[in-house]
Amino acid sequence: MTDKYQKIVERHTPEENVMVNAIIAFITGGIMGIIGQLLIDFYSSYMHIPSKEATVCMLITLIFMSCLLTSLGFFDKCVNFCKCGLIIPITGFAHATQSAALEYRKEGLVMGLGANMLKLSGAVIIYGIIGSFVFSLIRTLVGII
């Protein structure tokens, strides 16, 4: 009985096309990389910003675009289509912050927006800081020895 049920379930679960998804993520992610490099070149050669500041400007521009498109409701459709092609770049970080902010806005400014804005991106910040602390401690200990 359960075997039969399992077979029916297997037949009706939609087949996730791993190959197609991977190729879509590859192409969209690659385009994001090219946009990043183009923005760095634009800031450093046309606005004459030193390369280190140009990187920061590029990140801020991408975050701004991602926040704006998310609030216009356009970015969610793109994420549904390209998935990791937009989640892994810094746009995914901004998208998580912006969508949490929009969602919890109606629960109030302090307990809603303030408490929940960094729900998902807070995890990224916390584990990033913990990881970097541990690894830089290891690095400095190796340097001392």
Binding site: E16, V18, N21, A22, I24, A25, F26, T28, G29, G30, I31, G33, I34, I35, G36, Q37, L38, T55, V56, M58, L59, I63, C67, L68, T70, S71, L72, K83, C84, G85, I87, I88, P89, I90, G92, F93, A94, A96, Q98, A100, A101, L102, E103, R105, K106, L113, M117, L120, A123, V124, G128, I129, G131, S132, F133, F135, S136, L137, R139, T140
Partner: protein, 116 residues
Amino acid sequence: MIYLNAFLFCGFICMLGQIILDKTNLTPGHITIIFVIVGTFLDVFNIYDRLVLWAGGGALVPITSFGHMLTHGAIEGYNEGGVLGLFTGTLNLTSAGISAAIIFSFFFSLVFEPKD
């Protein structure tokens, strides 16, 4: 040439994330955190700096660069100010990204209504 490298590197990382997402039960949040920790690890022996030189913006756009900047700031802080620098320098380079995300999403959420 650097555009091709940027395309290949950034695309490869995104493809890796997509394959992990499809093959396992992890959520996108887990995958983002895994990539951040990989980024913090790769900076320990300056591997990621070489990748940035090779791929340019392609290595700076993915979330791994967030982890790379965290470790980079911490090590830079240690070289300048000793052990206290590990605490003061960690967020030095990433503060722009975090502040930008918070500021923009706060004001946009005041202006725009959520769309379903």
